[in-house]
Amino acid sequence: MDSYLVAMAVFAGLYALLALGLNVVWGMTGMINLGLVGFFGLGAYVSALLCRQTGAPIVVGIAAAALAAAGAGAAVALATARLRGDYLAIITLGFSEVVRLVASNELWLTNGTDGISGIPGPWRGRVAPQTFNVIYLAMVVLAVLAVLAVCERIRHSPYGRVLRAIRDDDQVAAVAGKRVIAFKVQAFAVSAAILGLAGALWGHYTSFIAPDVFTPLVTIYVVLALTAGGTGNNVGAVLGAALVIFLMEGTRFATGWLVGLAPVQVAALREALIGAALLVVLRVRPRGLLPEAIVPVQASR
């Protein structure tokens, strides 16, 4: 049971990273990313492949994952930077599907739908599994704290104010002399780097990744985490991630009491519940449990 709780804490930390990453674009800059699972998956694959095929140290793999995701994020943002936000929604959704297709079909590189196993983890095999879990939890907590510090720094800096100005009205920001496109592309790259980092950490923890892990459902989990925690609020993002893990695991136990349902029905109920939870939060408490201190200006358009 203890190792179960530690594992859940690790996953909560990884989801906290994802929610923090989403917050940089959606919460602070007002850009949508409905394919964040694509950047998450890209990071996981880059780090896993680098460490497994070339024997690179895990730290190098993680750094490469963040860089690769940042590059992809910059490219995606650049393609739609001049257009209305709806286009970014479509492009990001498409991007995540492309990542999944490539991961499923390039057998020579990714081993297809069978996935990659035996991804190295720090001190895995050299210490007891229990100790490995605890060490990893400490690393993830450090990563969350570091990313949280960076995100808070961004939020309170003049840079963060420009991002918020772009979110509230990008034309006003442009009139004030800010290079809106450059800011948007940078914000998206920073966000994608965090998502890629989370992906790399995921792979090194579970030691196994497959295209199945990176389904659109993950995107919904993360959007739910950020929305429930408080869009625009970094601490809220972390809190929301913990709540989502609690909800997911809670329903796992709760559905144990349901008798007479096929496993596929139980799975369907849990997925539907996550979607419904997001809809309820959007309706009842759209600004989340910890709302952003400054009320966002409603776009007049």
């Binding site: 209305r84 709806d86 492309v98 079909n105 979607g275 419904a276 809809l279 959007l282």
Partner: protein, 288 residues
């Protein structure tokens, strides 16, 4: 080789015509309600299953199954929009888009709860392919093509000649002016959702007749639907048709150089290409 290419182009035009049906729905909602309604994916699946029930359980022919799918997906679309998406629209197009993704997840899983993950096929007579000028063509393909053409013609006639159709175009063009002229924009929005989601449902049946259906049917084609709408010009109905034919032919021709699994990547590449070179698409108006 030329014959092979001709065959692929023919297949692509057939597939594109079917794709055009849900693409018109997506673009129509975009034109009137100004948000990308990703719930089109789940309504496509709802239509596919409603049509399957009509066809397999009630023994109705394909043409009637299409009608049942239109009604079922249209009603599901209006009800879910009224209850869930409409109250969120004041929060902005992007928030509504997120809610639409969540709605898709819920509806898709309702279907999974009832029907499970198994693949299901329609009850169709097995018929030999026709050979025309050295090209193969399946009678079922021709029938689907015909049904898609009928559905699209009905939409065009409706928009062009009826009072309600004109009201819809007026709201798409300028909602403020339309409401000043006494058009009930709420009613137009509801009607647009009904017709658009109904068309998504028809698309679901036509796709199902071609292959088989499961709860992910809608999600699997949604990228091609977006691509058709964006390439043709988001918000333009003739554009959706042109875009769908382009994507249909492009996906088939990609088989010459790419593995079949990468068909949907063609749609994504086409979106990127169009957004880089001509963001408003082939027939669209505004993208900024």
């Amino acid at each position: 080789m030329p014959r092979e290419i001709a065959q692929l182009v023919l297949n692509g035009l057939m597939a594109g015509t079917i794709l055009a049906v849900p693409a018109i729905g997506f673009t129509a909602i975009y034109a009137v309600l100004r948000f990308p309604n990703f719930a089109i994916a789940s309504h496509l699946t709802i239509g596919a299953f409603a049509g399957w029930l009509a066809n397999v359980s009630l023994g109705l022919p394909a043409a009637l199954a299409v009608g049942v799918a239109f009604a079922a997906a249209g009603v599901a679309g209006v009800v879910s929009d009224e209850l869930i998406l409409k109250p969120l629209r004041p929060a902005g197009a992007l928030t509504t888009a997120i809610a639409a993704v969540a709605l898709t997840l819920v509806l898709e899983n309702v279907i999974r709860f009832v029907f499970g993950n198994d693949l299901r096929g329609y009850a169709l007579p097995i018929r030999r392919d026709w050979q025309v000028a050295g090209l193969r063509i399946a009678p079922q393909q021709v029938q689907n093509f015909g049904l898609a053409i009928v559905a699209m013609t009905a939409v065009f006639l409706f928009l062009a000649f009826t009072r309600t159709g004109k009201a819809m175009r007026a709201v798409a063009d300028n909602p403020t002016l339309a409401s000043v002229k006494g058009i009930d924009t709420d009613r137009v929005a509801r009607l647009t959702t009904f017709v658009a989601m109904g068309l998504a449902g028809v698309g679901g049946v036509l796709l199902g007749l071609d292959t088989s259906i499961d709860p992910l049917t809608g999600f699997r084609v949604i990228l091609s639907v977006f691509a058709a709408a964006v390439v043709g010009g988001l918000g333009s109905i003739p554009g959706a048709v042109v875009g769908a034919l382009t994507i249909g032919v492009g996906e088939e021709l990609s088989l010459l150089v790419l593995a079949p699994a990468y068909r949907t990547v063609v749609g994504f590449a086409a979106i990127l290409l169009v957004l880089t070179l001509r963001p408003r698409g082939i027939l669209g108006e505004r993208a900024y």
